[in-house]
Symmetry: C2
């Protein structure tokens, strides 16, 4: 049985490893970083890493989950300002864009994980967190649409909310990803922001007019 201090120190080590891995992943991307690199940066041997995490994927998944949880805590307050649904929608999108522009590699790594989600071998605890955060993500966009309906601002049928709840994520992800990998570095941030804003404003117009 672990004592309290021991437990705390173990948790500390775990965080040290995550911090080291995070810096490496977000600088170089997932594949180029080796477990030995992470071990070296965390001042441990390779074997020790596997005392704290079951695989490289597991390390990356936990980093992403921490970030997503942080994102959701940032998003929570957007309903509290009494803003119009359109403003809430745009506010949400901007938090999302800011989030990825701060750590640009995060986006690529997250997408990569989503693409391979069903072939990853993660611990039960991590899988539980993934399901939880996925549901929170879905409910955020659903709530925004619902908020707009309740305010009488979006002329949307309730049954449509479900059909299009992914459209918002899709739109944002798509615009970010395409600008991120096609455009020139120098104009990237500006283009992503203007693309998202323009596209969203058109979408909102549609929501207000929707049959």
């Amino acid at each position: 049985m672990l004592g309290k201090r021991r437990k705390r120190e173990r948790e500390q080590r775990r965080k040290t490893i995550l911090r080291a891995a995070r810096r490496l992943f977000f600088k170089q991307g997932y594949n180029p970083v080796t477990v030995s690199d992470i071990a070296k940066k965390a001042e441990l041997s390779k074997g020790a890493i596997y005392l704290y995490f079951s695989s490289k994927e597991e390390i990356c998944a936990q980093i992403l989950l921490d970030d997503i949880e942080r994102f959701h805590s940032e998003v929570l307050p957007i309903f509290e300002g009494g803003d119009s649904a359109s403003e809430v929608l745009i506010g949400f999108a901007n938090i999302y864009v800011d989030f990825f522009l701060k750590d640009r590699e995060l986006f690529r790594i997250l997408m990569n994980f989503m693409l391979h989600a069903n072939s990853l071998n993660l611990s039960d605890d991590t899988n539980r967190r993934i399901i939880l955060e996925t549901n929170r993500a879905i409910s955020v966009t659903e709530n925004i649409f619902q908020y707009g309906i309740d305010k009488g601002e979006f002329l949307l049928k309730k049954e449509d909310v479900r059909a299009m709840r992914n459209s918002l994520w899709g739109m944002l992800n798509g615009i970010i990803s395409l600008h991120l990998f096609i455009g020139r570095e120098s104009t990237r941030e500006k283009r992503i922001r203007s693309g998202v804003n323009k596209c969203l404003s058109i979408f909102i117009e549609g929501l207000k007019k929707s049959e």
Copy 2:
């Protein structure tokens, strides 16, 4: 110097390899398929594969490019029916969705390639084709918006076309990817189609109303 028959036979072998690889990739995904698997399926040794392609990535890239070229040739006729811009837009989206629903793994592999596009080591010829097809993809969506403007159907400013040309790809990709990896298998196709259609109809309303 290669004779004509020799050249034809070489091309034949190349295609045999591509066909074998295609079947494997689209059944199992990119990573699980090894070059030896491809060689075995094509009834060749591993070394022989490298007489025709410089890397595993190169093989996959050429398969994807062939598919994308095929997609563009399918898209070309959508402007010729004299349809309204809205109909063209919806027609385009449906071709896109059909394309991925036919070979579902294609989508995952393509996204994967896009995410790693800047760290792939491909031949000059392949890179040239990638640039060409990327430009064609961009111009397709731009042309649809422009068509709508010319017809007086979309109340869009010309300078906005550029800012939002990726939004359409983004919306479609996002909806497909999220439904593909989150939803239940049994309802997937239906959900993707209804999500795309609902979302697009709202977007089109916005385009018609756009300030």
